[in-house]
């Protein structure tokens, strides 16, 4: 039963990533692209978590935590650059 749920989850998250990619390519604004990248990172964390369940090992969660942190720092850096013209003032 869990296998079917995992299959559903992988398909749904792949579909969500495709939708995010569409928004990333279409824009229209820079902010839309930042938002799309942020959402893509969250969806990829979801895929890593599901892969961790499917693989039965808890070692993939370090990757998920690292990606969560890097994704957040990246979003903040984009936003700070567009707001102030500099990332670290």
């Amino acid at each position: 039963m869990i296998e079917y749920a995992l299959g559903f989850g992988f398909v749904v998250l792949g579909l969500a990533l495709a939708l995010n990619l569409w928004r990333l390519l279409k824009g229209p604004g820079v902010t839309d692209r930042i938002l799309a990248l942020d959402t893509m990172v969250i969806n990829i964390i979801g895929i890593i978590v599901l892969a961790g369940i499917a693989g039965g090992s808890g070692s993939s969660f370090e990757a998920a935590l690292l990606l969560a942190m890097v994704g957040f720092v990246g979003t903040v850096a984009y936003a700070k650059f567009l707001l102030r013209g500099d990332i670290i003032e």
Binding site: M1, A16, L17, P28, V30, D38, T39, I53, A68
Partner: protein
């Protein structure tokens, strides 16, 4: 904890399915909604909630099916639930900033353009860090 295996499988499967559905709904909102301020709602609420559901499903799987107690997922979900509003706030600030600069590519939402600031104040999106706050470099 002694939960019969079929019940554990139902719990884990439903958490994964519910979480995945929320993630898809959030991304669908990102594509479908007409302006950025509305688009922000999908990823920041629905997708984050969906990921929380999947992480809970992972905790439940390792505890109920495999009998191992893991807390990494809780760490990830706490981190995401703390950072999602911050990044959404920053993206909204960039959006307002670019609306003020009349960037044609930014979409104006149903609330219209932001009202101009009152006298003696600057736009919050462009204000320098206040004196005495950690971002204030002039006071050093």
């Amino acid at each position: 904890m002694s939960v019969p295996l079929p019940l554990a499988e139902i719990i884990v499967s439903s958490l994964i399915v519910i979480g995945g559905s929320f993630a898809l709904i959030g991304s669908w909102g990102l594509v479908r909604l007409p302006s950025l301020m509305e688009r922000l709602h999908g990823p920041t609420k629905a997708t984050t909630l969906g990921l929380g559901g999947m992480l809970l499903g992972s905790v439940a799987y390792f505890q109920l099916v495999r009998g191992e107690w893991t807390t990494h997922e809780l760490l990830v979900s706490v981190f995401l639930f703390v950072t999602a509003p911050i990044s959404a706030n920053l993206i909204a600030k960039v959006h307002l900033h670019r609306l003020r600069l009349d960037e044609a590519s930014e979409s104006v939402g149903p609330a219209g353009r932001p009202a101009p600031p009152t006298a003696n104040t600057d736009w919050a999106t462009h204000e320098a860090p206040h004196l005495g706050t950690p971002g204030d470099m002039a006071g050093d």
